[in-house]
Amino acid sequence: MWKTILRRLLIMIPQLIILSLLVFLLAKMMPGDPFSGSINPNTDPKQIEALRRAAGLYDPWYVQYFRWVGNLFHGDLGTSYIQHVPVTSLIADRASNTFWLSLLTTILTYSIAIPLGITSGRHQDQWQDTSVRIFNYITLATPGFVFYILGLWLFGFTLGWFPISGSVSASASGFWGVLGSRIYHMILPAILYALITTTGTVQYLRTGIVDNKVEDYVRTARSKGVPENIVFHKHILRNSLLPIAAFLGNTITGLLSGSMIIESVFSYPGMGKLFLDSIGQRDYTTLTALILIFGILTLIGNLLSDIIMSIIDPRIRIQ
């Protein structure tokens, strides 16, 4: 198996090269550049030109590309054109915000989705199942931004239970104060986000349980007199969790990519928001760095998923 992992890692290299080239060229092809938005009656266009030249924006694309790649190897993702700080520090800042929000969201998602999926599958076609399925259709059909804004309006503004923007309150101080404030800021977005991302998990789990219930090995177990509880938990449930495990790798790496929509609605400074902003502002350095990171995360996520699957499911162990 180690060989396989190594091989997969090696294949990632050309994939990343192609990705980086695409990313770089597509970014450059967007109309405008980081300076075109700063032209106003109070800036001197000559100075803007000089800055463009100094930033190397007029060099041929391959010169710019190799300069960028060269810097990458030194761990230098460049300096943000807009924020004027190193991209690494910017991303580190945002990644930690996103990580904690996503982690909370994921925990909440699973703790809502798994019981619902089990209930639904176990009590197939009974009222419990129907309620869960109605819930599922609603969450599937609700557009995220509408749901988030509604939640923000209700719990943030009208009831005033939760903060409406940011990741930490301006008045928080001390370690515990800041930590508390951070968690307080995450709760509402995490709950809202978790509530409408449960759909897939619930559905996979329910289908898995429904399908496995009638499998031969279940009948065998039952006929051997295995107690129903054990049949369910050991035989049915474990096998039904496989599809969810298949996504686990991407879920783990996805903790760092964030969500553009929820972060925008809550003005939560995470990776998704950073990505969106850097597109709008043509912040090339940040944008290319982010896409590259997202790309790497996806590749690693897929690899992780495969590894996890091969560990828990001997049938598909890779040769």
Partner: protein, 598 residues
């Protein structure tokens, strides 16, 4: 013309939305407004809102929370020399103070932290900072602090966007900028670095120098003793600028959450007196939440998005104050190209829009008042000329503007030989006339407004369609305008103006921002005359401005469209807040006098 940009309309929510005065980009899309009345008289309109909160006795103490409505986290470059966005200026406002105060028409007076004297014979400007004006660490602001901003601006290592060739009117500036000189020879410190005076030697003095925002000299100080150890190339990202800035304004930064919020506490060394408030907290709010932020009283001060006025106007326990910013939206005609090699605009005699009757007709066919009434809740109004009322005498009242008049528009076209051939008019030379309009995406009402204008033009037989068939995304909009893209015959944009009224940088022969590429000897002469030595005579200068406005109106290379109120909602217990230029320090709210009523 720069130091003031984005400041004179120092609303704490510079967010685009309504006016088309956009934060990071002055050139923005248009979003009109309404003024029910037909003459679009800005002064009359302004009386709809007070310019300041009611005057009441103020008590000490209390904290004010301010919503900063922006959909991107603020950059947080706490330096007037290096910051580039209006959002950053808003964020820094409680701590930052400019050297000069002004009267209501932006003329520099002696009430501020420093005084300024022009000596036309010696060609010098002498700036003296008052005794007792101290940085928030207790140090007196000195001559070196007045000089240091010029080094920050001009040294290439800082990558300051605000360096401007206008500054090269200062002796020795260019040499320093190019690295040929170690110091700026034209800035003298007669009493040494610890003194309080600098004398700036110019190649020539300009009449605009009496006004704030003129760009010939800088209007802020930088704490040299605090910044001297930071290398220029590290300045923009240094903690001294990004985390622990030093200012001489009424408040100082207590705590900063990058991109999200800033907490201010009083600067006990503040020269005008002790601030009334204990604390000011500015935090970022998504513009989508702006209305709710006001209605739910989560903030004490928040900018109003004009498009959401109907929802907030009846909120209780709120006072609204407003200001008419120095800004306008306009329709510009592409009449030529920018010649990068020569560095000048070249007009194309054969360009489609190079016919003033056609341009005037297009202007007369725009039902601006109706659009404002229908879409903008009475918060926008038509402007008739390119010099806003806020400039006082320089504004020409007699310009009638393009009053909606389809008959007149048709007559103009008939006379000029644009005959109807079937449904549409053709060019005088018989070729078909298809006019491409470039406009950027914006608020939800942008699309119907543009379609309405296209319908109006259709009524006079002009075939106008959008460039590319739809509204352009902001970046591509800039790109097309700046690079004279094909398929753009006219465009809708907006300018936010500096507070010195000269027009050369926007409509001059050598200005790349003259996006119309309109160049005529008359225009060049008038623009130059605005800054000539003769114009030191106020009446003479006023006459030149009036002449130019008449000329601009006649040539119609730009059709001025609208301006809108910039409205702020305040907790009704707050007093001492004003939007009047004379009650502000160069666009900075005088925060030391703002407080809660007893």
């Amino acid at each position: 013309m720069y130091p003031r940009w984005g400041k004179q309309s120092m609303k704490l929510s510079k967010v685009l939305g309504s006016v088309g005065v956009v934060s990071a980009a002055a050139l923005a899309l248009v979003a009109c407004g309404k003024s029910g009345n037909s003459n679009g008289d800005a002064a009359k309109e302004a009386s709809k809102f007070p310019a300041a909160t009611p005057k009441k006795p103020v008590k000490r103490g209390g904290s004010v929370s301010i919503a900063l409505e922006t959909d991107t986290p603020f950059t947080g470059i706490f330096s007037d020399e290096l910051s580039t966005t209006a959002t950053d200026s808003s964020v820094a406002a409680p701590a930052e103070e400019s050297l000069f105060d002004t009267d209501d028409h932006y003329k520099i007076n002696d009430k501020g932290a420093a005084t300024m004297k022009l000596d036309r014979k010696a060609k010098t400007v002498t700036i003296t900072v008052k005794k007792g004006v101290k940085w928030s660490d207790g140090q007196q602001v000195n001559a070196k602090d007045l000089e240091y901003p010029y080094e920050i601006l001009a040294n290439k290592k800082t990558q300051a966007q605000r360096y401007d060739s206008t500054l090269e009117d200062i002796e020795g500036m260019k040499e320093y900028h190019e690295g040929k000189a170690k110091t700026i020879s034209g800035i003298e410190m007669p009493d040494g670095e610890k003194g309080r005076t600098i004398v700036i030697h110019f190649k020539e003095l300009k009449p605009g120098m009496y006004y704030s925002g003129n760009g010939y000299f800088w209007e802020s100080a930088a704490p040299y003793h605090y910044l001297k150890d930071v290398p220029f190339n590290k300045l923009q990202s240094s903690d001294e600028i990004r985390k622990r800035p030093l200012y001489f304004g009424p408040f100082k930064v207590q705590k900063l959450v990058r991109g999200q919020s800033v907490t201010y506490v009083p600067n006990k060394y503040y020269w005008r007196g002790k601030p009334k408030l204990d604390k000011i907290v500015i935090s970022v709010v998504n513009p989508n939440s702006a209305t709710q932020a006001i209605k739910s009283h989560k903030f004490d001060i928040a900018g109003v998005l004009n498009s959401q006025w109907e929802q907030v106007k009846d909120t209780k326990k709120i006072n609204f104050v407003a200001q008419v910013p120095l800004a306008y939206s306009y329709l510009g005609f592409k009449l030529g190209k920018w010649d990068a090699a020569k560095g000048e605009n070249v007009m194309d005699k054969n360009s489609k829009m190079n016919n003033k009757a056609l341009r005037q007709a297009i202007g007369y066919a725009m039902n601006l008042d109706a659009v404002n009434k229908r879409y903008n809740h009475g918060l926008s109004f038509r402007v008739n000329t390119l010099i806003p009322k806020g400039f006082g005498d320089y504004h020409d009242n007699s310009i009638k503007g393009f009053n909606y008049n389809l008959k007149k528009a048709s007559q103009l076209l008939d006379k000029a030989g644009y005959k109807k051939k079937g449904k549409w008019r053709v060019q005088p030379n018989g070729k078909p006339l298809n006019i491409k309009l470039l406009a950027a995406t914006g608020s939800a009402i942008q699309e119907p407004i543009i379609q309405n204008y296209i319908q109006q033009w259709k009524k006079i037989g002009l075939n106008v369609s959008l460039t590319g068939g739809r509204l352009a995304e902001q970046n591509s909009f800039f790109d097309k305008i700046q690079n004279d893209a094909k398929n753009v015959d006219m465009f809708m944009a907006a300018w936010s103006l500096a507070s010195e009224p000269s027009q050369g940088s926007m409509y001059g022969k050598t200005s790349p921002m003259n996006y119309e590429r309109f160049v005529t000897p008359e225009n060049t002469e008038l623009l130059e005359e605005m800054d000539s030595q003769k114009s030191f005579n106020h009446q003479y200068r006023v006459n030149v401005f009036h002449k130019w406005q008449k000329y601009m109106y006649d040539e119609a290379f730009v059709v001025p469209m609208n301006n809108s109120y910039s409205i702020t909602a305040l907790n009704n217990k707050i007093t001492g807040y004003s939007t009047k230029p004379s009650q502000n320090n160069n666009g900075h709210q005088l925060w030391y006098q703002v407080g809660y009523a007893k």
